[in-house]
Amino acid sequence: MTQRAPSRLDGARQRAAAAKRALAIGSAAAFVLVALWAHGSHPGVAAVQNGGDGSAVVDDDGAGDDFGFGTGSLSPSTGVSPDTGTHVS
C-alpha cells in the first residue's frame, strides 16, 4: 500500500488547525488572567486582613452593605379573624 505524500493543501490545513487551537487556548488563558486580575485588584478583595489565628480573612464585595434587623411592630390581636399565619414551612 502506498501512502500519499502530504500536499501543500494538507500542510496548510494542519497549520490552520494548529493556529485555531493556539488561538482558543490563548483566548481562554487571557479570559482567566483578566478575570483573576479584576478579582484581585478589586478594593473589596485586595484588602486582605490577617485573622487572629493566622488565617487570611478576605472581605467580600459587599463589606459595606449593612443589614439591619429593625424592630418588630407587634400588638395584641383584638379578636378579629386572622389574615394569615406564621409557622414552620
Binding site: 424592630t71 400588638s75 406564621t86 409557622h87 414552620v88
Partner: protein
Amino acid sequence: MSREAHFAAMGVDVTVGGATDAELASVKALFADWEQAFSRFRADSELTRINRSGRVAELSPLFAEVLARALAVARATDGLVDPTLGKALEAAGYDRDFAALAVEDPRSADEAAPGRWRELDLVGRMLFRPAGVRLDLNGVVKALAADEALALLTGRGFVAAGGDVAVRGGAVVTLPDGGAVRVESGGIATSGSGKRRWRRAGRVQHHLIDPATGRPSESRWLEVTVAAGSCLASDAAAKVAFLLDGDGPAWLEARGLPGRLASTGGAIVETSRWREALAA
C-alpha cells in the same frame, strides 16, 4: 384585609392580601422568576448552573443582588445564616424536592460540609468561589421574595410565603401554638425543625444546618418566632436564635427583637419585647 389570593410557589403556599389584580399578577410573576432562578431542585435553574460551574461564574443581575443580600445577612449573623450550605444539605440527604424525599433514607450520611461564606467573593456580577462550595439561598430567598412582593403592592397588605410574612398597614397573624398577634409593619417568621424532617442512616435529619458543623442543628428549640423590621430580618433572626440554642433568647434581647421560642420539651421562652408588645 378584604381581599386574599393563594397560590403555590417555591414549594410552599403563598397568600397575598390587599393586592389588585394587576399587583397579584406581578407578585405571581416575581415568585415564578425567583423559583426559576434559585431552585436547588430544578436542573435548569440559575442556581444549579452556578453550582455546576467552575470557580468563576457570571450571575444574572437578580442572582447577584440576592446573593449580595445573603452575604450581608451572613455578615450580620456571624455566618449563622450561610449561603454556602448546599453541600451540607445534600450530605444530610436533602438532595431533592422535599415531597420526593424518603422519610427513611438508608444511605449513610456523607461527609459534613461546614459553611464557607467567607470564601465567596462577589465582584459585581462575577462570583468567585472555591471548588466544591455549593450555594443554597433558601435561607433568605423565601423571606426576601415576600418583602419584594409586598413592595409591589401600593396600599396596605401582606405577603405570606410558607409562614414567612411581610406586612404593611397591619395584619393579624396566627402563631404556631394557635394564638394570634397583630403585626403593624415589617415581618414575622418562624423557623424550626418540626416539619422538614427525615431519617438518614438511622439519624434524624432536618433542614436547619449548623454552619459550624455542617450537620443539622441539635438545638433545644423546636421552633422560634420573631418579628422584625422586614420579613427577611425576622426570618434570619429566627434562624439565628434557633441555631444559637441556649444563647438564642439573649441574642434576640440584645437586638430588642420580639421573639418566642418553643423548646422540644414544650417550654416557652418569650423575650421582653414580645411580652411588652402583647401586654400593651
